[in-house]
Subunit: 256 residues, 2 copies
């Protein structure tokens, strides 16, 4: 049913997917204004499907739509990241709690397989592959919860978190090894079907990710502090988006 991929989707959906990618990869920088016509030419579509996509993105919180003033990419400050991950924590916690009860043994076996694959990539310090499997495991847990509303909310929040991850753009070794340990515990809870324990584990897993993200945030509170409120187009100009350092670099954010 979802086999055909490229040509089948309506123009509006393609634009939507494209824009989402451009936003969470920070190709469209947080806080920057978006003018319709240039984007239309770039995506080779008319304004109508673009504007429809804008409305959806606005309801998803990825852009802001100022009446008669056009759109701008939603700013992404420390507070926004914290808010998103707080909610994501209880969402994914609930997913774990439900998955521990509802997941079939086959699904758990699949997750276990993914886990060991991920562990192998961790040992070899292959971050993109590690990351892909990490996402796949979390996605499997979400699906195992068997709750469509939960899945939808999770995917939505994932977009915002991916945006933050692109801004930070690195993962230090200490956090990486800690995350791996947490995943060991997560798998353990799942096979034991320890729902409540898994819930707390997943939630704290995300809270730790929050701490890691915030500690690496580019400019905590610099001169662009008013970007969130003032209507003037501050381009934010965060040159940190491409900074390369001693830590591992994330290149593949999410196959979502």
């Amino acid at each position: 049913m979802q086999s055909q991929k490229k040509t089948s989707a309506s123009l509006h959906d393609e634009v939507l997917v494209q824009l989402r990618r451009m936003i969470y990869e920070c190709e469209l920088k947080p806080g920057s204004r978006i003018v319709e016509r240039p984007l239309c030419e770039r995506l080779s579509v008319s304004r109508t499907p673009l504007r429809e996509a804008f409305k959806v993105l606005a309801s998803e919180g990825l852009i802001e739509l100022l009446p008669n003033c056009g759109a701008r990419v939603a700013p992404l400050g420390e507070k926004d990241i914290r808010d998103a991950l707080e909610v994501m924590g209880v969402i994914e916690g609930l997913a774990g709690e439900l998955a521990a009860v509802r997941a079939s043994d086959d699904i758990i076996a699949e997750i276990r397989a993914l886990h060991y694959q991920m562990y192998a990539h961790y040992l070899r310090r292959e971050l993109p592959e590690y990351f892909r499997l990490n996402q796949a495991i979390h996605q499997k847990i979400i699906q195992a919860a068997g709750n469509t509303v939960l899945s939808a909310q999770y995917n939505l929040l994932s977009l915002h978190v991916a945006r933050a991850r692109y801004m930070v753009n690195r993962l230090d070794d200490e956090r990486w090894s800690q995350a791996m340990k947490e995943h060991d515990a997560i798998l353990d809870c799942l096979v034991r079907r320890a729902g409540a324990e898994l819930r707390e584990l997943l939630r704290s897993h995300l809270m730790n990710k929050l701490s890691s993200l915030l500690s690496h945030l580019p400019q905590p509170e610099a001169e662009a502090a008013d970007a969130g409120k003032s209507g003037t187009r501050v381009a934010a100009e965060n040159g940190a988006a491409h900074r390369v350092n001693e830590a591992a670099i994330i290149r593949e954010p999410a196959p979502l």
Copy 2:
């Protein structure tokens, strides 16, 4: 900044608000197909803003957009209600947990005042007023959490739940008195700032509401069981929407 209400909003927003109301009041019945042009005439707008509103409603899960086949109001079965309230449970639980820490004494005083007002209406069996204050209390707790993502998710889920409530359209006395007791406990937790306890209380409060809703659901699994999957426009024709019985009737769903 948000003082002007009616004439200032863009046409698209007005249509969006109108359609949301029509959907969660079941004026547009779950599962029924929506044709664009008649709605355009009825709302006195062109197809462009209507279609933009459709895209947003689809991303909110209130309608489904079938490619080249138009829109239909999202069906609302037992599973959908359960899914929505499961998620809402942890969302509002988190809100309580955060509010217990972050709410100012003034806010708690306001909630206490609302609570006693609500209690007075409960004693007089004034359901619409009770309901309005009930919503206001929950809204205050959400706001006190100080998390914009949480607020957005909660408001979204509220729409779906309101839709379910309209379908059920009544509240039996036993559940009413139980809900009132639960609210007593909620207020107590809040003034004691017992976050974890409040979290569990709010979650179970919603789980009880879920049970109540499901037990009063019009047709659990009747001949319209395939309405959720088949593409044919089954009008659902749930005559139970206006049924009047021995229980109190809900007329005012949410001032949201």
